[in-house]
């Protein structure tokens, strides 16, 4: 290492060393020395020499539980308007929260309000939607009774949704043929998609769930080929539009097997 004292009081330090690639490099630095005098309180300076004491090991290091670390940067921005800003921030957060609640479509099963059923103020005083749902189920049952018992055969043109197909301009004959194949009318039937079903949902469960809203044309529960468990969604076709609509209204947000179902039109909303 070579140190040259320059005329202007600076120093030039030239150093030869190996860099990390193993090559010899020459480093030249120009240094200006400046002596800064600092006045320190004598007592404070003396205290800086204090020896360690207390629960310390004999070698002078602190016991392991004592440590001093440098923390994360903490912001302290002093502002006259800090309080107002904080207030605004809180209000904004509150609004955001309210908006989030609105958009997430939390629907109470008792009063149809935007809160969880458990928090419903009317949950003890009002009849739950379930009971109303049960009442709705009674109506088609009555119709069925008229037709000769719940299990009696109803020809397709007598069914509740038959009018709609009649309006479609199809003849009864071609309609019947399609029905026999099972899938010919699939696209015409109003179909709803139910998602968030639990793994062990069976077709029978979905049937039971959807039957009260009207006669079902088709129930399809998506199952995993290898395991046979439900994949979490199902398609249900009704014969008529109203039944499907009613089913969506009731089943969306309905609790089933500890999950909250969501129901919508299968083909993106008719």
């Amino acid at each position: 290492m070579e140190v040259i004292t320059n005329a202007d009081g600076t120093k030039t330090v030239i150093e030869n060393r190996l860099n990390e690639d193993g090559k010899r490099v020459r480093v030249t630095r120009k240094i200006q020395e400046k002596i800064v005098q600092e006045h320190v309180n004598r007592a404070v300076a003396e205290r800086k020499q204090w020896a360690k004491f207390g629960q310390l090991r004999s070698d002078g290091t602190a016991k392991s539980s004592v440590a001093t670390t440098i923390g994360e940067v903490v912001e302290l921005r002093l502002s006259q308007y800090a309080a107002q800003m904080k207030q605004q921030e809180l209000e904004a957060a509150e609004q955001e929260k309210a908006a989030a609640v609105k958009s997430s479509k939390i629907l109470c099963r008792v009063c149809r309000g935007e809160h969880f059923t458990a928090k419903c103020p009317y949950k003890d005083t009002m009849t739950s939607a379930e009971d109303i749902l049960g009442g709705g189920a009674a109506a088609p049952a009555a119709e069925e009774a008229k037709a000769g018992g719940p299990n009696a055969y109803v020809p397709p043109h007598m069914r509740a949704g038959a009018k709609a197909f009649g309006a479609g301009g199809r003849t009864a004959g071609s309609l019947g043929a399609g029905d026999a194949r099972g899938d010919g009318r699939r696209d015409e039937n109003p179909t709803i998609r139910i998602t968030n079903l639990s793994e062990d949902t069976l077709e029978a469960d979905v049937n039971q769930l959807c039957r009260p809203f009207g006669p079902l044309a088709r129930v399809f529960v998506a199952t995993d080929r290898s395991t046979g468990y439900c994949k979490g969604f199902a398609f249900v076709s009704y014969y008529d539009h109203e039944s499907a609509e009613k089913a969506i209204a009731k089943l969306n947000g309905h609790g089933f097997d500890n999950l909250i179902l969501s129901a919508d039109w299968a083909n993106g909303g008719k």
């Binding site: 020896a51 004491f53 004592v66 001093t68 440098i70 940067v73 903490v74 302290l76 800090a82 904080k86």
Partner: protein
């Protein structure tokens, strides 16, 4: 600000204090030891070991040669600051909640807890710096007529002792004559901390009623009120800027029920004169139990229920802060 984290305690901090020159920081916690640190770099100097119970309070004299601690083992102990040697032990009937040297270092006051049939009191002992043994005979014992005192401090010229009580009231004692000069209703709830301005003419109190207040010592006249939204454990005043720093948060028992964001564990800065909140500084995971400002106003330290001491040195922007009026 990049705070220094002092990890020397295993239990919640109860009090931290700078010495008068501001180069040393004393911390006490419920884990029975008192620690001494350099405030500029957080280096640990030593532990004062000997207490058998949780420590509640600490103070040192003006020349930083003696340290006194008060604890739940019903003793107050005097230590040689430099070596950590125990010099004297005062046996008191109950736990010592607060100790403080008088301005002239001749006396020390001790506030004792009300327990097991013993009434609480404020004991004043004389300190003789020429020898280690101290008198065990108190000069006076001040007994409160109403609720028990929780904190106390020396007034200007050591003329009076001010005490803050569990019911939120304040008393001003002419301590030599054992007389109550003045009483005032200050807070709606327990007074948790009381810190004198350096000349003893006014002081700040914090309370669990979510306010901190400034009082004039001579009259106990309320001067300022700082309102927050959390119970306060401590309040202190900055010597150079006209600010007060308040610390608190939910009661320790309720902390686990909410997240730290809602816990309000920040140090809050209020303007001393205009009573407006001007800033906050985050960091602790639990309520702040104690705050102290470096006597030259260049930093502050906070001790929390989380067992950590955070030593902050203010950024240059802090000193540029001006309140527009």
């Amino acid at each position: 600000m990049r705070p220094l984290l002092l990890q020397g305690h295993e239990r919640p901090l109860t009090q931290i204090k700078y010495n008068r020159d501001g180069d040393l920081l004393m911390t006490v916690s419920k884990d029975k030891i008192a620690n001494l640190w350099y405030s500029h770099n957080g280096e640990h100097i030593g532990c004062y070991v000997g207490h058998l119970g949780a420590l509640w309070t600490v103070d040192c004299n003006k020349t930083s040669t003696l340290v006194i601690t008060g604890a739940a083992d019903n003793t107050a102990r005097l230590w040689h600051a430099e070596t950590g040697r125990m010099l004297h032990t005062w046996e008191l009937p109950t736990a010592v909640k607060r100790v403080e040297f008088s301005h002239d270092d001749q006396y020390v006051l001790m506030v004792t807890e009300e327990r097991m049939g013993h009434k609480s009191g404020i004991y004043v002992f004389a300190i003789d710096i020429s020898r280690p043994e101290q008198s065990d005979e108190p000069i006076v014992i001040l007994r409160a007529s109403g609720a028990k005192p929780t904190v106390a401090a020396w007034s200007y010229l050591d003329k009076f002792i001010v005490s803050g009580h569990e019911d939120g009231s304040l008393s001003l004692y002419d301590w030599r004559n054992e007389e109550v000069v003045q009483t005032a209703k200050a807070h709606d709830s327990i007074i948790t901390d009381m810190q004198m301005w350096k000349d003893g003419t006014y002081f700040i109190t914090s309370s669990r009623d979510m306010t901190a207040r400034l009082f004039e010592t001579a009259t106990l006249e309320p001067m300022k009120i700082y309102k927050t939204d959390a119970p306060l454990n401590t309040a202190t005043m900055t010597p150079t800027q006209d600010l007060v720093i308040l610390g608190g948060g939910q009661a320790a028992s309720e902390v686990t029920t909410t997240s730290s964001r809602q816990g309000k564990f920040e140090s809050r800065f209020f303007h001393k004169i205009f009573e407006d909140e001007v800033g906050r500084s985050r960091g602790h995971f639990g309520p702040i139990n104690t705050l102290a400002v470096q006597p030259d106003g260049k930093g502050f330290a906070s001790g929390g229920e989380d067992g950590l001491v955070r030593v902050h040195h203010f950024d240059p922007e802090y000193f540029k802060f001006k309140y527009d009026y």
